[in-house]
Symmetry: C2
Subunit: 254 residues, 2 copies
């Protein structure tokens, strides 16, 4: 069922040879070390990523994914932000605008199911409770690292702002707090990942990884603790959210 070594390496090479189709066109700064670390392993490669963001987008409430290109992005940041900047962007609203905090999301193609299981355990243990594995018909094994840590607030309707400046200021404070918590989880995930996977070469950028064709080494045998989580008894001390996967770093579309 799982792709063999040749097929997996072919997919990985193909991925690195493709363009980054995301709006941003590069890996977000706060997670570039994680993306590089994963891509330095012969059993994994990342296909899309977003470190987390605060956004304002203009569109209909029922704006569907296919119509997303018709939605207008009024404000996007991958860092904490100031309410004045959000407020200035909100003034450009002409439709139904939503203020959102979207947490870290990462899609990783895995060589075999056990590799995905290991990554799933690491993700859930780090607080990313909505993570899950997908097995495609061609044997592609994909792990989505997702959080339930969300904020989604309608702030204008048909161009008319529905909230006060003071309330927007409060929303920005809440989303900045969520951004901070998100970064903590990302670092927790990275630490767990380092424990679970032996580093294989000095860290380098994604571009360097693609250019250098690194010499991959075998992943260390997983310990009992690494694989100790059955998702249904996953740790219960984290709350997180959902996100779209097509906006930050998307290297692999087929």
């Amino acid at each position: 069922m799982a792709g063999n070594s040749v097929t997996f390496q072919h997919w990985k090479d193909q991925c690195f040879n493709k363009c980054d189709f995301s709006k941003k066109g590069s890996v977000d700064e706060d997670i570039s070390h994680i993306v590089s670390f994963i891509n330095s392993h012969d059993r994994y490669f990342t296909t899309s990523s977003c470190s987390g963001r605060i956004i304002l987008f203009d569109g209909a409430w029922d704006c569907q994914e296919v119509q997303k290109q018709n939605c207008s992005w009024l404000f996007v940041t991958h860092q904490k932000c100031h309410s004045e900047d959000v407020l200035a962007s909100l003034e450009k609203s002409v439709g139904d605008t939503t203020f959102k905090f979207e947490p870290f999301v990462l899609h990783v193609q895995c060589k075999q199911l056990e590799d995905a299981q290991l990554l799933h355990t690491v993700a859930v243990n780090s607080g990313f409770r909505n993570s899950g594995i997908t097995v495609g018909k061609k044997g592609k094994i994909m792990m989505a690292i997702r959080s339930t840590h969300c904020l989604e607030v309608p702030v204008s309707h048909k161009g008319t702002v529905l909230i006060t400046d003071k309330y927007l200021d409060f929303l920005v404070r809440v989303s900045n707090q969520k951004m901070e918590e998100n970064l903590k989880r990302i670092e927790r995930f990275y630490e767990c990942l380092q424990t679970a996977l032996q580093p294989q070469e000095p860290r380098c950028t994604l571009k360097e990884t693609a250019d250098k064709k690194p010499v991959y080494r075998r992943r260390r045998k997983r310990t009992k603790d690494d694989s100790a989580t059955d998702c249904c008894q996953a740790i219960k001390d984290h709350k997180e959210s959902s996100e779209e996967e097509t906006d930050c770093n998307l290297l692999f579309l087929s």
Copy 2:
């Protein structure tokens, strides 16, 4: 890796013999036919479910999952609602209150990985883009059907309401629209499920299913179309959300 027939049936029997640990203590009306249909198949059983809900809960913004019992639920409905009822509940706020729409979520234990793959395809094709598979260390294969269709709005801080009645009225309208869309997706999921899995016996309630020990028949061989979705090329015309899994119908905790 996957549990054999005896183990899976043992887990299924064990599940039906357990109490429903959810707050509500029963399967939500709008999805009871889906839960029964799935439980009538020998390769699947549901372990938790929620048809979707509109809630007001009181707690700290950083209220973690482990502290959830300390959060106070001011308002919960699995149907569309009236703003007057939400408003009356909001008056009871003493902490930081959040207004949320949470969509359909369903956890299904599957006999083998290919069964989970089939269910995953059905889920993604029906618009549940955040669905994913979990493989536990004891070989339990779990499919989580999740949506990205969310609304999460802070509405009070330290007992002080932050929004106007008019804005709350608007939020209720938006969440009622989301509830309608959620029901459409649930029905789409049920229709796809019926196409993918041959009905095995007349539909019955979960309790009847548990009592009767139904005669299971083999699932029909999947057609090419049934399994045609690789998640990464999943349909892009749906947008959905995230949720916690412990509140509506939770039959299976270990």
